[in-house]
Structures are given as C-alpha cells and as structure tokens.
Amino acid sequence: MKLKFPKIPRSIWVALIAMFLGLIAGAIFMLCTGSNPFAGYYYLFRGGLMNIERIGNSLATATPLILTGLSVAFAFKTGLFNIGASGQLLAGGLSATVVALTVVLPKPLLLLLMFLAAIVGGALWGFIPGLLKALFNVHEVVATIMMNWLAYWVVYYTIPRYFKGKFLETESRKIPDIASLRVPWLTEMFDGSYVNLGLIIAIIVVLIIGIILKKTVLGYELKAAGFNRFAAEYGGMKVNRNIVLSMTIAGALAGIGGLTLYTGYAVNIQIGVLPNQGFDGIAVSLLAANSPLGVFFSALFFGILHSGKGFMNAMTEIPPQIGDTIIATIIYFAATSVLIERFLDRAGKALANRKLERSSKEAG
C-alpha cells in the first residue's frame, strides 16, 4: 500500500526547519541560564495566544513586521537587499507623527493624510539609495545603512526640539486619540488590545503587492531585473528606472510600517532607538522566501514570539530578550539554509533508496 502525502514546497520545509532550529537554540540558551525550556515555551506561546486580547496584541505586534518584511521581500525580488527598512520605518513614522501632532482635521481625513505622509517619508528614504544605485552603482546595502543612521539622527534632534514629550526629553508628545489608528470597534472586538487599523492596512497591502508581483507588467519587469539585469536590459526594459522604483516602493512599505508602529501600536515616537522591526523584517522575508503571503504568516509567528515574551518573563525567570535571540538565530539558520537543503537532499535520497529496496524486495 502506498501512502500519499500532500506535496509541501521545499521553501516551506526549509523555513519550518530554520524555525525549529531557532526554537532549539532558544531552548539551549534557556538551559544555559538554568531555566526549564518547556515551561519557557509554554508561557511564551501562552502569553501570545491565551485569550482574545493577547491574540490581538500579537496581531498588533506583527503588523509593522508584515510591512517591513514585505518591504525587504519586495526589494529582494528586484535583486536588491534593503537593509534600510529601519530607517524607512523611522522616516515614515516621524512624518506620520508630525502630521498627527500638528494638523487638525476630522479623523478619516487626518488618518488619510498621516498615511500619505508615512508613504512619502518612507519612500524618500528608499528613493535615495535606489537613485544612487541606478546612477552611480553605489551598493544599496551600504547606502541604506547610512540612511538608517541619518533617520536615527534626524529623529534624535527633531523630536526633543519641536515635539518634546510632557515628562521625558527622549520621546515625543502623545498623539491625540483622533490621530490614532486604534478604533473603538476593533479594540472592543479584541477585548481592549492594541490591535488597530494598521492590521487591515497591512492585509490590504499584502494583497496589492502580491497582485503587483504576480499579475502586472511592472511586477514582471521588477522580477526580471532581479533575475538577470543584463537580460532585462537587452529585452528593452528600463532596469535603472525599475531599481529606483523598487527601492521607492520598498521604502514606502516600511514607511507604512512606521505609521502602524508609532501611531497605532504605540502612541508616541522615541529617540535614540533604531527600531528592531526593520531588521526583523529581514528575518520575516527570509523565512517567507520573499512571497507576500508567506511574509504575512512568518510575521504572525514573530509577532507571537514578541508579544508572548513579556508574559513568559513574568511567569518564569527567563529574560524577555530570548524572543529577539530566537529571531536572530533563525536569520542565521536561514542564511545557512544551504546546510538544511543538503540535509533535505540526503534525506530525500535515503527515502528514495529505501523505497527502491522495498519495491525490489516485494518484486523479488
């Protein structure tokens, strides 16, 4: 008798194994500090999922990650490595915060204006490295790193000067309720969690980006530039224009992430922080093998890890940084996925050999 398993794509296997290895590494670190990893993971996942409010918080934590992950994945499709999602997120978040704190408008219009501001801010931060790459062949990794720190210092000096918080110099004023992405019906639906309109925006954006990449000429051209720049050029595509466009869109996506982070999940913007969400976005997109739908699910996984770690820390002695450690380790395993692929190759061969043996025995 033959058992038939549904065929799971290889990229999903690699992602699952990388995730699993990351969790194992986390367990080893928990053991190193004398904690019980089973209890640790129990409380970690319980903290992220135990009731409707916690689930809402996990979704809210995942929201910016969906957008930064999408940003990194989108640039990857054009063969560009956007390590600047952090800076673009900051630029978008700062623009949105500035609008939220200065403009007076009815809520729907204000939110729309903030949304546009975030897109412009993030897009600008992506446009510059894109332009430098297209015109001067400046490597986008270096350019986006520089842009990250530019955003960091712009926020560092702008916020205390113009939008200083009531009590702390190191954060902006709280945005008014009218400018927050949190809306009563969503908050009530999730029992008072942080979940906000950002999640809905993120889902819509995932769908739009998925359609752009799969179904449009633009998406085809962007991917062609990623596969083989010279072939695309030979085929009459404007590769340089596409590089600039890809980085600009990637920046805009991360910028929207900044909107959801600073005016949805949080209520103000802090200085002196290069947000981790940008780098987590790299992990998200790696695990997802750059597919928009995959980005959505891997961001949810990281959202659970991040939102559950506080509860785990309260219930056990394990410091919450284990969440970030696991994510970072997963990136490393994704980077070294060659090892996983080799393992899968061998496992596949061994399985095939065994089948062959068995069938030859049955025949003989």
């Binding site: 500090t33 270096v142 790193i145 530019l150 712009v154 450690t325 970072a328 490393y332 980077a335």
Partner: protein, 315 residues
C-alpha cells in the same frame, strides 16, 4: 577657540580609537574578500565579555583585571566571528545576511545573559583604564598638549596594531596573498594560495579587532555595558569606505568622524559650539560617506571580489 580644541582633543581621540580598530578589522576582512557588516555585533560581544571579566576579576586582581577584560573582549570577538566565517566561507552564504544575523544575535544574546547575571541587563565595571601624560613627549609645545596629555594606554596599543597591520598587508607574503584573495580569488587559488584559510584568518582578525574596539569603549569612556555600542560598528564601516579600504585612509576617516561626533557631544556644554546644530555634526559622517561613494563610484578602491563567495569550481 584654541582652548576649546585643546579641551576636546583628548575626548576626540578617545572616541576615535575604538572606531579605528574596528574599522581596521573591517579592512582586513574586506581585503580578503569577505564583507563583514557584523562589526557592530562583534563590538557588542567584545564589550560584554570585557565587562563580565572585569567585574568578576576586579575584586581579586585590581587594575590587572582591566587588561584581562580587554584580552577577553578580543578573544570573544574572534570566537564569535567564527559564525560569520563558517557561513560565508564554508557555506558560501549571503555575507550580508550572515552579518545582519551576527548583529542581531549579539545584541539580543548579550542582554539576555547580562539580565540573567545582574538582573538589569547592564554590567558596571568598578574601574576602567586611567589616563596618563606621556613623560617628556607631553612637554613638547602645541603637539604635546594635543596628542600626549590625558592619553590611554589602549590608544598607543591600537596605533601600534595599525602600524603592524599596515606592514602585514603591504610588506609581507601573507598580506600579498590576503589582497589577492580579495581582488581575484581564483588567480590566488591557481597560484597555490589557500583562499579559504586566508579568509578564515582575516575574519578572525576582524572579530578580534572589533572585540577589542568594544572592550576599549568599555574601559575608557563608557564604564558600563548596556547591550549596545550606539551604531559605532556601522560608523566604522562608513569610515572604511570613506577611507577607501586603506589603513592610512581609515586613520584619517575615523579621526574626522570621531572629531565631528565629539563636537556634537560637547556642543551642549560649550557655549561657543552651541550655534552648530548637533544634527549636522552627527549626520555628517553618513552624508560624506554617501558623497564619497558617489565621488569614487568610477575609481572605487573597493576589493573587487569583496562579498563574493569563493567557489572553486567556477574558475
């Protein structure tokens, strides 16, 4: 104005030195053909190992513990860089992703253990290095005041390493092979150079140097490990590019950046400087690096094979 410069100079040098040694680590690594954007993380590891060592040993060893801490920082940086070496040399992995992973693991894991050890995530050291005036040299007019007063021993150590590295890279067979691996690994391979081995040595050196940089931050001006080196690893990377992958170039670049950052840091307390907006001074290194990349885009001195995995079969 002169008074201000004399006042700032020791601080600027103190701030420059960890930047310089880390940048030098990046230089050795990239010259061998491996991009290392994990410098920031390696600095954090160095700073953590050093803080841990000093805080544990100081009660029994006194001032010698500080030097043990510096050594521990170097060793820890080198060991941690093995992760990057393995991924980028053995597995031909994407070096940028591996470097990013190094940065993230270092930032999270050190705070994780620091919180387990101290509860707060910060590790304080009781005492760092002491400043001293160079005998005789500090009496020289003008230069003596600027360069030889209020110095740390680590400053001279790093300058010595810089000199040694310059000699190593340009004047020894090893240096020639190292540069060959970064420019044309297949040619080096054909000439019988063990490309993988050379790259391993280079990555380990960059880890040790960055670890040393992190340790120096701790024992000179910060005195506390808090899980971050505030982007200095990335600033070192910028200096490496601005200095066009040359030892003397990065000496100039790091000092330039260090001086600008110090100006920004002290501008709040020195009235004469408060007119210069801090943002301009702090953003300056990144902007000039971008401009340098544009200016040198046609004549860049970047190692040609930097960032490319070495695949023996593709010759």
């Amino acid at each position: 104005m002169w008074d201000i410069i004399v006042f700032i100079f020791p601080y600027a040098i103190t701030y420059t030195i960890p930047l310089l040694i880390t940048s030098l680590g990046g230089l050795v690594c990239e010259r061998s053909g491996v991009v290392n954007i994990g410098l920031e993380g390696l600095m954090i590891i160095g700073s953590f190992a050093s803080a841990l060592t000093v805080s544990k040993l100081y009660p029994s060893m006194g001032d010698a513990a500080v030097w043990m801490g510096v050594l521990a920082g170097m060793i820890a940086g080198a060991l941690f860089s093995l992760l990057h070496a393995f991924a980028s040399i053995n597995l031909n992995a994407n070096q940028v992703i591996s470097g990013t992973a190094i940065n993230m693991i270092a930032g999270a894991l050190t705070v994780y253990f620091a919180r387990y050890i101290t509860g707060s995530g910060n590790i304080n050291i009781i005492s760092g290095l002491r400043r001293f005036n160079m005998p005789v040299l500090s009496k020289i007019p003008v230069i003596g005041n600027l360069f030889f007063t209020q110095t740390y021993m680590t400053t001279w150590l790093v300058l010595l390493i810089l000199l040694g590295s310059w000699y190593l890279i340009y004047k020894t067979p090893f240096g020639l092979r190292l540069r060959a691996c970064g420019e044309h690994p297949h040619a080096a391979d054909a000439a019988g150079v063990n490309v993988r081995l050379i790259r391993y040595v280079a990555v380990l050196m960059s880890g040790a140097f960055a670890g040393l940089g992190g340790a120096i931050i701790l024992v000179t001006y910060s005195g506390e490990f808090n899980g971050s080196v505030a982007g200095l690893g990335f600033l070192a990377l910028a200096a490496l590019i601005f200095g066009q992958w040359k030892p003397l170039g990065i000496l100039g670049a790091t000092f330039f950046f260090g001086f600008a950052s110090t100006l920004a840091n002290v501008s709040q307390v020195v009235p004469a400087l408060s007119t210069i907006p801090g943002l301009i001074l702090k953003a300056f290194p990144y902007v000039v690096t971008l401009l340098a990349l544009i200016a040198f885009s046609k004549s860049s001195q970047a190692p040609r094979a930097s960032g490319e995995p070495f695949d023996q079969g593709s010759r």
